[in-house]
Amino acid sequence: MIHKNSKDNCMDNPPETQSFPPEPRRPPRHTLTHLIVGGIAFGLDVLTHRLDEWEALSDQEIPPVQLVDPPALSESTRSLLVLPESQETSTDTGRYALVGLLFNAQDRFNAGLDRAGGLARTVHHYTSRLSKPVTSSRFFSPVANGWDALVRRGESQVSTWIDRGRMEEGKGISIARQAVQGTTDEVIDVLSVHPGVKELVEKQSSGFATEIVEEIRERTVSLDTLFERITRKVLRKKPRTHFLPAPDEVTPIAQDVKTTHPVERQ
């Protein structure tokens, strides 16, 4: 039935006005991969940069405590070197041992890797010298040629991967950077319209305005006294040592106004 209708429709419509169904939207095949790869590369780059900064800062601030034997130091020296508290519990000691073990293990692992690399190079050096008569012989040449072709193919494949990886990583970093920037902008936009944040900013602004007004008032009050002192000096009058408060009827009206810093009146 449906087929018939569609057929009828096709016949009614002239061929040039036929509306083609929209092309299916292609899924962003590599976008997510780009984002993951770029995010890792970009994040690692930023993290490494930060870690270097923090490491440099901590090196400047804290002396090398791990090289000092704690029991051998006096109390004053201990406080200077920011050592752990003298009264350590067994739990603390155990924790320190674990932390030390972790760092030592990392160092040993790195050293082991270096040693393994060196060993592999040495083995390759000697085995290639020993096997050279066999591999360079005429009987072995078909196998050697096949092997060389395989190696060349492998190298070509790897170099293709490297080129592609270089290009895609750059693209990925660019996407990750855009994603970070976009997200930051969005967060800022959300914060700028968020009532809680707006209220906080308004409160801070009004606090700042109040502070300025208070400052101006304090200055003018100081100058009130200063001007009077100068005037009295010019008029050869004694400086005012006592101040008259306003009559009792007046004071309550003045006190109607709320102030921000209540101070006990003498």
């Binding site: 304090e218 040592t241 306003a246 006190q255 003498q266």
Partner: protein, 184 residues
């Protein structure tokens, strides 16, 4: 009414104490600025409106209206309006609120000596007192510096005090210097 309150040494908080010369002068300048700025903006606004509505063109077509318009322009009506606005500004704020915006900013308030509300008549009298204080080579204002209750001539004429409405205090350093001075 306690007409002779006990004098105190320089108090930590001068709330309810008589306001000094410099605070009052600053408040006055703030008010002058507000009045001046609002007058300029207002007259500019009126000029724009009258220009847009083509008053001159409309009035010039009718002889009687044209004469009236010319008389209005030639008369000192604008000056009179400005004068009324200035008087109205001070009297309104003194009588209705007890402090002008400038005084509110500096934290001072006008209070009649009987502690009641300031009437419009007394506020007008205070404004006239301003002119008298000015006429005496500003001596009426400088009187605040030497008077025990920090009253100018205009205050004495209208029977008003100006007091701090906040916990007024000089800044810490200044206060210490003052206390040392009094200790000698």
């Amino acid at each position: 009414m306690n007409t002779n309150p006990k004098p105190t040494t320089l108090p930590i908080s001068q709330l309810g104490y008589y306001a000094g010369f410099f605070t009052r002068l600053t408040a006055f300048f703030v008010d002058v600025f507000i009045v001046g700025a609002s007058t300029i903006i207002g007259s500019w606004f009126l000029t724009i409106i009258s220009g847009m509505l083509q008053f001159q063109a409309i009035f010039s077509r009718v002889p009687i209206l044209r004469e009236g318009y010319n008389w209005l322009v030639a008369s000192p009506l604008d000056q009179l309006l400005i004068f009324v606005y200035v008087v109205g500004y001070f009297v309104f704020f003194w009588a209705i609120v007890g402090q002008t915006p400038g005084k509110a900013l500096l934290g001072i308030r006008i209070i009649p000596v009987d502690g009641k509300k300031l009437s419009v008549g007394r506020a007008l009298l205070r404004y006239i007192g301003y002119w008298i204080s000015t006429a005496g080579l500003l001596l009426g204002f400088l009187w605040i510096l030497v008077d025990d209750r920090r009253q100018g001539w205009h205050d004495k004429i209208s029977g008003t005090y100006v007091v701090y409405t906040w916990h007024a205090r000089p800044d810490e350093k200044f206060l210490v210097e003052e206390i040392e001075q009094f200790g000698k």
